[in-house]
Amino acid sequence: MEQINTQKQYDKLVKEKSPNSPILRDCFNAFWVGGLICSIGQIILDFCIFKGMDATLASTVVSIALIAISALLTSLNIFNRIGKFAGAGTLIPITGFANSIVSPAIEYKSEGYVMGVGGKMFTVAGPVLVFGISTSIIVGIIASIF
């Protein structure tokens, strides 16, 4: 083996010795679990419309239902296991957003309800909110001009 003297040589050795994530398996699991979550959403939507709700109300019910289920599964120590298996499959849908708010709320409860739960609740979801809302505003302005 060649002598390692520089950071660049060491970086090469580290890459060689570090196992990679199983990308294909991760993508496959993300695909079918993500698809399943969206299908569940669709079933709730169709059921609501079948019960006589209009489309806007029905889609709101879908969001509320998926958030409630995710929050419940997070608090039961189940969501993290699904997330570990499915990765982006649970992270990308609204389920991931709910989990990212409920999990710090649980974790930081020991620091009190105000500065703990209240202050730290958005530590993970904060960037999504900031950049999501900013993007919506910019898109909204562009849409109103044209």
């Binding site: 050795l13 010795k17 120590n77 999990s103």
Partner: protein
């Protein structure tokens, strides 16, 4: 004591390791080393309200246990050297605040165990103390909370990530006692090879371990074969392989007698711990539980213990800094 070579201290009246104690969490209790520990906890809270309180209780009870096992009174202990991973070492501070023993808070990240033993042994040899305690702790949940994400967040860990050991290990170093003895210490330098991936700590710390290892051999004139076992703290599977290969390239073959506590602690396949264990408690519990008993029973005669630490915090990681590593070696012989 006298200094030999570049950075090694050789003891003329080597301090004896009088007693050792270890307490571990439930995941460690499911691992291959479980039968060697003094106490295995059934849950991570141990009746406390927060992870931090639980970790404090673990180090407190481990220190109480090591004193009880040694048949000494608490008043016989002159100083305690302890540290952990939580900001400002609160687990040790809070855990030992009622101990009534003069206290040094030590921080060397996961190298804290041998760092405290280095300092403690110098105190004992220099006649500054008759008996000292060296202890460290870590807790998976409190470490995840401080360094990574909330436990309930549904994320995936990369294969190079390591699992922080929940537990604590403590030893008593003494002027009296029948050994094993600390004969040499080689405190390490900070070594930074530019690794920035907080999920690959083994790779970040391996160059520091290599530096200390080679310096130890050069300073003492010993060869790897002098030791029955060369043990690193928490390089894990990735770091262990890197260290063994780099040592070989420098002319030191450690393949036959080298192992890592992060590798020994968990069953990688069954326990889903990826690259192995980490944390201050990793080497502290494995040494106190397993290697100390091997030395006591004379199944091993000479070991080189090298605890490795990653000197970073969450702010430095977010600011894009690389991770400097450190490693302190102590040779223990009977």
């Amino acid at each position: 004591m006298h200094k030999i070579g570049k950075q090694t201290i050789c003891f003329d009246n080597p301090p004896s390791i009088l007693e050792a104690a270890s307490i571990v969490g439930p995941k460690e209790a499911d691992g291959p080393m479980a039968s060697y520990f003094d106490k295995c906890l059934e849950d991570e809270f141990w009746g406390e309200k927060s992870w931090e309180k639980a970790e404090s209780k673990i180090i407190k009870e481990t220190v109480n246990l090591v004193v009880a096992k040694s048949n000494l009174a608490t008043s016989d202990i002159d100083y305690v050297f302890a540290g952990d991973l939580l900001n400002q070492c609160i687990s040790s501070d809070f855990g030992l605040r009622e101990s009534n023993i003069p206290y040094f808070g030590v921080f060397g990240a996961c190298s804290t165990f041998t760092e405290s033993m280095c300092i403690g042994s110098v105190f004992v040899e220099a006649n500054g103390a008759k008996n000292v305690i060296c202890a460290t702790s870590s807790h998976f949940c409190s470490a995840e909370k401080q360094f990574r994400f909330p436990l309930e967040l549904g994320t995936q860990r990369p294969p190079t990530a390591q699992w922080t050991v929940t537990g604590s290990g403590a030893v008593i170093l003494s002027q009296t006692g029948q050994g094993p003895y600390i004969t040499n210490i080689t405190p390490g330098k900070i070594v930074d090879m530019g690794v920035k991936d907080a999920n690959n700590m083994g790779a970040a710390m391996a160059p520091a371990a290599l530096d200390t290892l080679i310096t130890h051999f050069q300073d003492t004139g010993r060869k790897p074969s002098y030791y029955d076992a060369i043990i690193t703290g928490d390089l894990g599977h990735v770091g262990k392989e890197i260290l063994a290969e780099m040592a070989q390239s420098k002319g030191y073959n450690i393949n036959s007698n080298y192992n890592d506590c992060g590798v020994l602690m968990f069953d990688k396949e069954k326990q889903d711990t990826h690259a192995g264990g980490s944390g201050c408690a990793c080497i502290a519990t494995v040494f106190s539980g397993y290697f100390f008993k091997q030395l006591k029973d004379k199944k091993m005669k000479r070991i080189l213990l090298i605890a490795t630490g990653a000197l970073m915090n969450s702010t430095s990681m977010q600011q894009g800094e690389s991770i400097p590593g450190i490693a302190h070696a102590i040779s223990i012989e009977i």
